[in-house]
């Protein structure tokens, strides 16, 4: 089909066409970037924490009485908690993935060396690995004789004397690329600490964007101030009941404490990503809204043009154009406008991406978002123009003989 009448007609509506092209371009740019942000956040939200998430519950206990020995208190509490029906394992810890308690240490690999990175210290009583369900991929769990107190009262001095650590695979590969990390020494404090085990995954209490979300070290250090997180391993269906009974048991053992944040690990994760879920919802709504508005605009304008050109269509039909030709004509017109919009939109999308990268520390737009967005817009445009174009093709040739 010759395109010359098509172009001629479009040049008669230069301004309208320009506005349409701009609208498609901005829609394309915003939708692509919104989709990229959604994709990035979904990747973050799906990171495995390393914990058996549907089988762990927790609650925080803060002792008010300063005179009693926290180590004794924790042991008595844990013994009682392990006695509860349905509790498979229990431990007391300070940090957990997503709980925000981030004690990070600079990690050097030689004495008095410059720290190469910072990694979170996870400290806890014996049984931490088993309760959380962390998967050891090399080495062993801590031995009973390796445990010692954190010594909170003396500036967490325990870190300077702890003999061993279990690190994440991510940390081991970063510190000792291509080598067996077992037996290697690291220096999180003053003294050397031997790596005795490697776990598959363990996310830090606060995620960061720089790729260090799994830089974590587990130490056989016993929490020894008033506050401690008790974690319990149980069957998924028992979680609510176990949490309730645990709170009752702890209060009965010693009422002189504050119990805070009893929750399942699933709740902890869900709370952590609450804002991201809001953001994803808004981005989705905005992207859908934009696509809807733009297709409505395309459809509106097309049906308007069909009305306006009824006579011209009639004339074309009268001189031999088939209904198919008319349909094709409007589809081709739409395709031309949307393609122009997409081309401009591609440039705009990368410009917008650059702007977002400087102001909001967002990622570079992955290349595949653009073709997918373009195809989607193109299809929507064709869909939007289909109704008006069919109406146009139904215009009978006899219209040509009527006036106005």
């Amino acid at each position: 089909m010759p395109h010359s009448p098509l172009l001629a007609s479009l040049t008669r509506h230069k301004l309208t066409v320009l506005l349409m092209v701009l609208q498609v371009a901005f829609t394309c740019a915003i939708v692509c970037n919104a989709a990229a942000i959604i994709g990035h956040r979904l990747v973050q939200m799906r990171q495995p924490s390393g914990v058996a998430e549907d089988a762990v519950v927790m609650l925080e206990s803060i002792s008010v009485d300063d005179r009693e020995d926290p180590l004794v208190r924790h042991q008595a509490d844990l013994a009682a908690l392990r006695g509860l029906a349905g509790v498979q394992a229990a431990a007391g810890v300070d940090a957990l993935p997503f709980n925000g308690y981030n004690w990070s240490n600079g990690i050097a690999t030689e004495p008095k060396g410059q720290p190469r990175l910072t990694a979170t210290a996870f400290n806890g009583t014996p049984g931490e690995l088993a309760t959380l369900g962390l998967r050891l991929v090399a080495g062993r769990d801590f031995l009973p004789e390796e445990y010692l107190p954190i010594d909170t009262a003396h500036d967490w001095n325990g870190i300077n004397h702890v003999p061993s650590t279990i690190v994440t695979r991510a940390l081991a590969e970063r510190l000792f690329p291509g080598q067996d990390p077992l037996g290697k020494l690291i220096y999180p404090g003053d003294g050397p600490v031997r790596i005795v085990g490697v776990v598959d995954h363990l996310l830090r209490p606060v995620l960061d964007e720089s790729g260090g979300s799994e830089y974590a070290t587990l130490f056989p250090l016993l929490p020894d101030d008033g506050g401690i997180n008790y974690i319990l391993r149980t069957a998924p269906q028992d979680r609510e009941r176990v949490l309730k009974q645990a709170a009752e048991t702890l209060t009965r053992l010693d009422g002189n404490r504050v119990l805070r944040h009893p929750r399942t690990f699933s709740q902890l994760r869900s709370d952590y990503f609450r804002r991201d879920r809001t953001m994803i919802g808004l981005l989705l709504a905005a992207a859908l809204g934009l696509l809807l508005v733009t297709s409505a605009g395309i459809a509106g304008l097309a049906s308007f043009w069909v009305q306006q050109r009824r006579r011209a269509i009639g004339v074309r039909r009268a001189v031999g154009a088939t209904r198919r030709d008319i349909l094709r004509y409007f589809q081709a017109e739409n395709a031309l406008i949307v393609t122009g919009g997409i081309l401009a939109g591609a440039v705009l999308a990368y410009a917008l991406n650059l702007l977002l990268m400087t102001h909001y520390a967002l990622q570079r737009l992955p290349w595949f978002y653009l073709p997918v967005g373009a195809a989607l817009l193109w299809l929507l445009g064709q869909l939007a123009v289909l109704g008006p174009a069919r109406r146009a093709s139904a215009v009978p040739p006899v219209v040509a003989t009527r006036s106005g």
């Binding site: 609208q23 915003i30 803060i62 804002r275 934009l290 409505a296 043009w305």
Partner: protein, 433 residues
């Protein structure tokens, strides 16, 4: 004349109902989305301490060692080490100054059998109350001497006071925090500036409230629990009072610009003096932020909200392009009618005005719809669990602004089409009829 134009506009819109409704809907969606976010921004960027914020400043110095890695944070986080905060406090070069840190303590109810509960508050020095002009319902703050003597005194918020002592006066009574008895010296009249500008700014800067205030030196002495970032460098012990651990906030009151300038000089001098003692290895770059500048610098308004605002405005832009295109099409469709009016003596200006009014009618209808959508949008924002959520309320000023934005947006959207349409030459169009 205007009434007549409005009648014509209404008539024309009725002729193309579906298209008119589409335009109203699109303008309404755009206005609704952007007004929701503009309102959220408006309430969040308000002054937390009106009347006083102009004299309040946050000094910024950087005691950290030289960065050996580009990935390290280049900008200092604004926290002070204990020795630096105490040096500036005792130098007393500002009209008023205070050091502070956040904390949480278990509170034990006075009556027997009550379970202890946790409250968050702040550990501060004496000038805090006079500097920030905190309103007391009874009593007052404490003296610098109390700070020196690590006095066991506490200022309660109205809410906690009522919870502990009912409606009776709390001043002079004793409250047990953790393991120590504190004497209540004052009760605050629900002082909760939003955002909580004097604390470390994080994602919870909005919505957080302090229920008690007690002397910083006392908190350190009793080893009460601190909250917030505690960053250390170097490799000797990480203690609260060491000179290589930053965690305190420091605020000064400076009553004139000249004093602010002098204080900036003083800070730079302090930096150089510390360099002479082998500290502060980074190049001298002392800053002094006004309160509102500080909030902007620390991104008190979460980045996600900024992104949402940008998104809403982008959405409005596309909606305007959309309406512009549709209006242009409708106006040009009426080329015949316009050229007849022109031929009958209507000036370009008249045509322009008439079409402009038609665009405004759409804008007004869109504005009304947008207002409804914005109210709905704000309601959904209030359902968010974030601290700022409850602040997201429409007020009179924002209501007015919604309408102004709607009219401006639709007039802007109508301007180009109306300009294009009023350039239709009378004769040519008549000929083609």
């Amino acid at each position: 004349m205007l009434g007549y134009y409005a009648a014509i506009a209404a008539h024309n819109l009725r002729r193309n109902k579906a298209l008119a409704m589409l335009m109203v809907l699109v303008i309404g969606l755009g206005i609704g989305a952007s007004m929701t976010m503009i309102t959220v921004f408006h309430v969040l960027s308000g002054d937390p301490l009106p009347g006083r914020s102009g004299q309040l400043y946050a000094p910024l110095i950087d005691p950290r060692p030289l960065a050996h890695d580009r990935a390290e944070q280049a900008i200092p986080d604004g926290n002070f080490t204990w020795p630096d905060a105490m040096n500036l406090l005792h130098a007393a070069r500002a009209d008023r100054q205070a050091a502070m840190a956040g904390g949480a303590v278990p509170v034990r109810p006075a009556q027997a059998g009550g379970l202890p509960f946790y409250e968050t508050g702040h550990y501060v020095t004496a000038d805090f109350f006079t500097m920030f002009g905190t309103p007391f319902t009874a009593g007052g703050g404490w003296s610098a001497q109390d700070d020196e003597q690590r006095a066991r005194v506490v200022v309660l918020d109205r809410e906690l006071s009522r919870q502990l002592f009912g409606d009776a006066s709390a001043v002079g009574r004793s409250v047990r925090l953790k393991d120590t008895d504190f004497r209540v010296v004052g009760v605050l009249d629900g002082w909760h500036p939003q955002p909580q500008f004097y604390a470390q700014i994080d994602s919870r800067a909005f919505g957080r409230t302090d229920q008690f205030f007690l002397p910083l030196s006392t908190a350190l002495d009793l080893k009460l629990d601190f909250s917030g970032r505690f960053a250390c460098w170097g490799d000797s012990g990480d203690t609260r009072d060491s000179d290589h651990c930053s965690w305190l906030q420091f605020w000064v009151q400076l009553d004139s610009a000249a004093k602010a300038g002098a204080y900036r000089e003083f800070l730079a001098g302090y930096w150089r003096e510390q360099q002479a003692h082998g500290r502060f290895p980074r190049p001298v770059d002392a800053q002094l932020y006004g309160l509102m500048d500080w909030l902007a610098h620390e991104h008190a308004i979460p980045d996600d909200l900024r992104l949402q605002l940008a998104l809403a405005l982008g959405f409005l832009g596309v909606c305007m392009l959309n309406v512009m295109g549709l209006l242009l099409a409708t106006f040009l469709r009426r080329g015949g009618e316009i050229s007849v009016r022109r031929a009958l003596g209507a000036r370009r200006r008249d045509v322009f005005l008439q079409l402009g009014i038609e665009a405004s009618v759409i804008g007004l209808a869109g504005g009304l719809l947008g207002l409804a959508i914005a109210c709905l949008g704000l309601w959904t924002v209030r359902q968010r669990p974030d601290g700022y959520a409850q602040l997201a309320q429409m007020d009179g000023a924002m209501l007015l602004q919604t309408f102004v934005l709607a009219i401006v947006a639709s007039v802007l959207a109508g301007l180009l089409p109306a300009w294009r349409a009023c350039r239709i030459p009378p004769a040519l169009q008549l000929k083609t009829q």
